[in-house]
Symmetry: C2
Subunit: 155 residues, 2 copies
């Protein structure tokens, strides 16, 4: 299924009142070679090492191997990663039949909070909470890969 | 403990008669960046992912994280590795109080067989089996890292 993802800024902390989960996520890269990227990620108390190959010509498939590893090992690996560790808390907030995923960033991206919603079609309606700011869908600088290279504090 | 390692060529297959174990080893690298090398290795039916950081200034310590992974995952990862997969069978042959480790190489290093022995001191004596050829201790081109970059078939 091809889903539509829309991305917005967040203009207050009010979303935290409605959040039903929050998870700390840290991630970094041991290799950014597109033919063999190696990512380290901690997600709450769990940790993963994920290796991805190059996408095929049509961009539809990509070899991916994921391994759950001990949290302490991941913490060691994060110290070996290339500069640009992403550190954020992900909150989930239900709104009608949708779930907002809201990333509050720390470190070099401190001050940035982004909300995402997945829609089934471009036309699908959704509730706009009071804390929702300007739409930034499609703006590259808000992608995690870009935030790693050029963090919010350097904008 | 600092051990002395001596390395020799092997001039016949006769060592196989005395071998008490043999293990197929394949290994490749997802990253050769010295600050964050990522190695994939299968050893018999087992498989490992090993990440190493840079050595400290005196060369005595190096961060290392090893994770045992499913053999099938390692086989997938080997297809993503940089060129220069090392493929060999390691035989172990007891000789007196020592154990010879003998690597018979395949692929781009086919035709090369190397025997290694670990000694406690430079002066320690050891039995020289009939199949033992010329000593190559300290010759860089016989190291696995070099055999990966410039295999025997290209010498």
């Amino acid at each position: 299924m091809h889903e539509i993802e829309r991305k917005f800024l967040v203009n207050s902390d009010a979303f935290k009142l409605g959040a039903h989960t929050s998870t700390r996520i840290r991630q970094g890269y041991l290799s950014t070679d597109p033919a063999r990227t190696v990512r380290v990620r901690t997600r709450g108390k769990k940790a993963y090492l994920t290796i991805k190959g190059k996408s095929n010509v049509s961009g539809t498939t990509r070899v991916e191997v994921e391994e759950e590893i001990a949290f302490a090992k991941a913490e060691t690996l994060l110290t070996l990663c290339l500069p640009g560790i992403i550190d954020k808390t992900r909150y989930e907030v239900k709104a009608g039949k949708h779930v907002w995923e809201i990333d509050e960033f720390y470190g070099a991206n401190q001050g940035l909070t982004i909300a995402e919603i997945e829609l089934a079609t471009e036309e699908e309606d959704f509730i706009k909470p009071s804390w929702l700011g300007a739409e930034v869908t499609g703006e590259n600088k808000y992608y995690n890969s870009q935030l790693s290279l050029k963090p919010f504090s350097l904008w």
